[in-house]
């Protein structure tokens, strides 16, 4: 049976500031969803909260996979349960080679009951697998020996996220603006790669401001966030409308959320130092 990721009435705060205010979401293994919304509406916050970033406090509500609550689980346990986040801003880890890192990660995720210090998956198998995944993604072989994201260009970092996705084969993958910072050839290439990875065993939640990624990976459902809530859901056509016309229509249809968005922006502006003339 396919798994179900469920987010119910989720409230999340960062440093005591409430960012998500009652998010509901249901994603089944094998589906493709788009998550859209203007800057600052809470898309990345939702992604981080799902993955379990320690700074993102769940104030209310629940995240679960097949009825098992993730709320109290560390990020590594969530990864072992099949959750994956391709970061909007991937982190650099100097001195840690891509291949060593991935071998460790793959071992842990594929053997969820592995105890610390137990053996890693066999080197030869791993190398062969890594090599073919890298070829498919057009990543030069030398990247396996480079330090994780260290000195990588923006586009290279995004490809590295997709390589990790391809190696870890999660049940639920969240792609946070994987298309940003890529040139148009690269967007196409990455889009195609993702569509090859997608299938009945993987759900993909695509966070994006562009349409390209969605052309190759047509979402069954598009969710639109505004001021920390999902305010609209629709089919692929909704994504298309937003792309063409922007969020004015959404704001009109949801004046309360739009007002909150305004307030938050004003509060933030108030905190900015006043520039001397």
């Amino acid at each position: 049976m396919s798994s179900l990721l469920k987010v119910e009435n989720l409230y999340v705060s960062i440093d005591d500031k409430m960012i998500l205010k009652g998010v509901d979401l249901e994603v089944r293994q094998g589906e493709i969803h788009a998550l859209m919304g203007p800057n600052g509406s809470g898309k990345s916050t939702l992604a981080y909260a799902l993955m379990g970033h320690p700074k993102y406090e769940i104030v209310d509500g629940e995240i679960s996979i097949d009825g098992v609550s993730l709320n109290e689980l560390e990020p590594d346990s969530r990864a072992r349960m099949g959750l994956f986040l391709a970061f909007q801003y991937p982190v650099t880890v100097p001195g840690v080679k891509v291949a060593d890192f991935l071998r460790h990660a793959v071992t842990n995720v594929r053997n969820p009951n592995r105890k610390e210090g137990e053996g890693l998956i066999p080197m030869r198998e791993f190398r062969a697998e890594l090599k073919s995944r890298m070829e498919e993604l057009g990543i030069e072989a030398e990247f396996a020996r480079r330090y994780l994201n260290d000195g990588f260009s923006g586009g290279e970092k995004k490809r590295m996220e997709i390589l990790q996705l391809a190696m870890l084969r999660p049940k639920f993958a969240i792609l946070d603006e994987t298309d940003s910072g890529l040139d148009s050839d690269a967007v196409r290439f990455v889009s195609e790669a993702i569509s090859r990875l997608a299938g009945p065993d993987m759900a993909i939640i695509i966070i994006t401001h562009h349409e390209r990624l969605l052309e190759f990976n047509r979402p069954q459902l598009t969710h639109v966030m505004l001021a920390g809530r999902v305010v609209e859901r629709g089919e692929a056509a909704l994504a298309h409308e937003l792309h063409d016309q922007g969020y004015a229509g959404v704001r009109l249809r949801h004046p309360d959320a739009a007002a909150e968005e305004q307030e938050a922006a004003a509060a933030l502006a108030g905190k900015q130092p006043v520039l001397a003339k």
């Binding site: 700074k55 560390e74 001195g95 460790h104 990660a105 610390e116 990790q164």
Partner: protein, 473 residues
């Protein structure tokens, strides 16, 4: 009697994962000097070793120097060190063996557990195993011996190669250099003596392994390495001791002469138990176009004070020190390097990486000195510290004495904390918090570890992982 593991755990003073904390019975020891330091003890050591008169005099006058020298006021806390509560000379077996089977069982078992015979079979060109005050086992590949390479313990060298020995002994580090050099000069025993003849390049490392076994023991090995013109050698030393609740003292003196066009790399992987004071003086003289490298891995000990020095004596000499320090609970690593540019166009590089966790303290203390007239010198110093928690501490004391204008001196220092974003990123890929921290630390020292031969790189990473285990919280 078998190795007594139980006592090690009982006596454990909180280092948890230190895995070399076991010790053997001392019942069958050949000789143990009474505790304390005075002229009689020094004379007795000299007598037992049947030394020439000049060495006896050297020891006794060094003892006078030791009494006169004050304890250093900088560095670590030394006031708890009681010089009268230490055995200065302990002889566990009758002599040095060439075959592991002839080494007394208990001692051999210890080295088995430390993996030395196995490493010897696999990739070493020669081994010395020092247990307490004396070397108990020694080997050297036959073809190296045929080429005139000498690798022996320092006592034997004095007896068997008296002229060579006397020409160099005490010339790089005179007894009056510092209080602990004076102490070592008075009571030294064991250590390695290496002579590599002109043009002989030794491909595989020579390794010495220093083991302290009994309580309140002082180990004072004395190492002297002479690399003749155009020759090269890589010498590696490892050190461990049992965990006791009272202090042991390790105070070595290492003197190295690297002649023209020669190369010497000296690698230390020190992993003392946390009751050991490790106060070591290491210095090399590097002549024209030679290369001297110190690779210094300092784990364990209560307090380490160690600043390997390189005197760049003639143009074209290069010196490099790579140092890794890991300070855990109750530990203070005060380590660094000294580079003294005595001649023009000499080059030095210092890379130091320190890690402090659970209240440990790591200090970098370094000196770059350029003498007047040493034009065209270059020196580059980089020291990076990583703090694993807010109880831990890191300090940097870089000293520069530059008496020449026409030089290039660079210094960079950084202190970082293990970042939440890195931890989260790695954990989101299935790494536990401990694995993620360990990976970040391993990555932090990787630029240095990759300089080591494979076997030692693996060993270093393994030791770091052991130090990291269970350290999160």
């Amino acid at each position: 009697m078998a190795t007594d593991l139980k006592t090690a755990t009982e006596d454990d003073i909180g280092v948890g994962e230190y895995q070399y904390g076991f010790h053997d019975s001392t019942d069958k020891y050949v000789f143990t000097a009474r505790k304390g330091l005075d002229r009689d003890i020094v004379a007795q050591i000299s007598e037992m070793k049947d030394e020439p008169a000049w060495m006896r005099e050297f020891r006794l006058s060094s003892l006078e120097t030791f009494w006169k020298k004050p304890l250093p006021l900088w560095g670590g806390e030394l006031r708890n060190l009681d010089f009268q509560d230490i055995h200065y000379y302990v002889k566990a077996s009758l002599g040095q063996e060439r075959n592991w089977d002839d080494v007394p069982d208990e001692i051999r078992k210890t080295y088995d557990r430390l993996g030395i015979p196995e490493a010897e079979r696999k990739y070493l060109a020669g081994v010395k195993a020092q247990y307490e005050s004396e070397v108990v086992y020694g080997s050297l590949h036959e073809d190296l011996a045929k080429q005139g390479v000498i690798f022996t313990d320092t006592d034997s060298a004095m007896r068997d190669h008296p002229d060579l020995f006397r020409e160099y002994f005490g010339t790089v580090i005179p007894p009056a250099d510092n209080k602990f050099a004076a102490l070592n000069s008075a009571v030294w025993s064991g250590g390695s003596f290496i002579y590599v003849p002109k043009g002989v390049k030794i491909e595989f490392p020579l390794q010495a392994y220093f083991r302290i076994n009994s309580e309140n023991m002082g180990q004072f090995e004395r190492t002297l390495i002479i690399v003749d013109e155009g020759a090269s050698v890589h010498y590696v030393e490892g050190c461990t001791a049992p965990t006791y609740s009272s202090e042991s003292l390790h105070s070595a003196v290492v003197e190295i002469i690297v002649k023209r066009g020669a190369r010497c790399r000296y690698t230390t992987i020190q992993n003392w138990s946390s009751n050991v004071y490790n106060l070591v003086t290491k210095r090399a003289m590097a002549y024209g176009d030679s290369l001297m490298e110190w690779v210094d891995g300092n784990l364990g000990s209560r307090l380490t004070m160690k600043y390997p020095a390189i005197y760049l004596m003639e143009p074209g000499a290069r010196g490099e020190t790579l140092s890794i320090a890991f300070a855990g609970k109750g530990q203070h690593q005060d380590a660094g390097a000294k580079m003294v540019h005595c001649a023009p166009n000499t080059y030095s590089r210092i890379i130091s990486k320190s890690i402090s966790k659970s209240g440990g303290r790591a200090s970098y203390r370094g000196l770059v000195k350029v003498a007047n007239g040493a034009t065209g010198c270059k020196s580059n110093v980089v020291c990076d510290a990583l703090l694993l928690d807010s109880d831990s501490r890191s300090d940097t004391y870089p000293y520069m004495e530059i008496d020449e204008d026409n030089v290039v001196i660079e210094h960079e220092a950084s202190v970082s904390k293990i970042s939440d974003e890195q931890l989260f990123y790695l954990m989101s890929r299935g790494m536990t918090e401990a694995e993620a921290s360990s990976m970040i630390v391993t990555g932090f020292i990787e630029p240095l570890v990759k300089e080591l031969p494979m076997e030692y790189a693996v060993e270093m990473n393994r030791l770091i992982e052991l130090q990291m285990e269970g350290s999160i919280g």
